[in-house]
């Protein structure tokens, strides 16, 4: 079998090994889920770059990326600065980015128009899809159910072997 014909299933991260969160959960839970993956290798920190968002039936409803979280962080920090400066503008949404006020994961996540891939598709097909959709990860489905996630780095590990001298 050509290396590129290997299946996504063989290189993906299984759902149970990745960060997940409920759509209705407060944003703080998504942050906690991501913090669990943080670790150091040498002096550099690494971790997962997204959280898979599920409904109560464990179905995929969206993806929450680090960058979407940064947007929320920026709003929260702006709001806090405004309060410190005594600014009178009430940025309602920014004010809700506190655990107590209840911004939910579904308010921030990238919703379901996101690209996905089947576990039986090939690694090459996944690479094409990521480039075409300009994403760094694809949730993996099998018979309609979410089973994992595959990322550029997982594809790259295999492609890299092919290109190595």
């Amino acid at each position: 079998m050509m290396p590129g014909e290997r299946k996504v299933r063989e290189i993906m991260i299984s759902l149970r090994d990745y960060s997940t969160v409920q759509a209705e959960a407060p944003l703080g839970e998504a942050i906690k889920a991501l913090q669990e993956s943080l670790h150091q290798d040498g002096r550099v920190w690494y971790g997962f770059h997204s959280v898979l968002v599920l409904d109560r039936e464990q179905r995929l409803v969206g993806l929450l990326t680090l960058r979407s979280l940064l947007k929320a962080i920026e709003l929260a920090a702006l709001h806090r600065d405004a309060l410190l400066r005594g600014a009178s503008w009430g940025w309602y949404f920014a004010g809700r980015v506190h655990r107590q006020s209840g911004v939910r994961v579904r308010d921030i996540m990238r919703p379901l128009s996101l690209a996905t891939i089947e576990s039986e598709e090939t690694v090459f097909q996944a690479a094409v899809k990521m480039v075409a959709h300009r994403v760094n990860s694809l949730p993996v489905l099998e018979k309609g159910r979410l089973v994992g996630i595959v990322r550029t780095i997982d594809i790259f590990q295999l492609i890299g072997e092919l290109l190595a001298d």
Partner: protein
């Protein structure tokens, strides 16, 4: 004291770099050198800083742009995809593209960079508005590190203590 970029960035000595004259194949090797497995998943650098012969920053090359450069563009236009033998054709094409120079493919520097002494929140704004996952960090015009979304995220408890 508000956090600065320097407080959370990855120093350049700890990150992947490659020369603009290197081939894509060489860039791939450098990036794979950063890969490690922890628990059930693979981790590593998602980009490499591109330097000229004087160690000055000239660009950034991401994993995804490397995949694109070695041929993983939309293959549906390519008639060879339909044929049984497309695998071999594509493999050969990929090997050819791997000989291309980094400087021809990299993201050039007109895209965003940030200064080491800038407040972290300004860097957050740049990451968000430029829709990138990392920013090369400059100090007196020389690149001294890289700031990734994960580095900012690590500091989240210090940016917003009550979040």
């Amino acid at each position: 004291m508000p956090l600065t970029v320097k407080d959370v960035m990855v120093p350049i000595g700890d990150y992947s770099t490659v020369s603009g004259e290197a081939t894509l194949r060489e860039a791939v090797a450098v990036l794979r050198g950063s890969f490690h497995r922890t628990g059930k998943a693979l981790y590593g650098h998602y980009s490499v800083l591109v330097l000229d012969e004087n160690e000055r920053l000239i660009g950034l090359l991401t994993l995804r742009s490397l995949l694109r450069a070695v041929g993983f563009r939309d293959l549906t236009e390519d008639i060879w995809v339909k044929a049984e033998s497309w695998g071999w054709y594509f493999m050969e094409k990929m090997q050819r593209e791997a000989g291309v120079r980094v400087r021809d493919i990299m993201r050039p520097l007109e895209l965003a960079t940030v200064n080491a002494d800038q407040p972290l929140l300004q860097a957050v704004h740049l990451l968000v508005t430029h829709q990138v996952n990392s920013l090369p960090v400059l100090e007196d015009g020389r690149v001294t590190g890289i700031l990734r979304t994960i580095d900012v995220f690590r500091a989240i408890d210090r940016i917003i203590p009550d979040l």
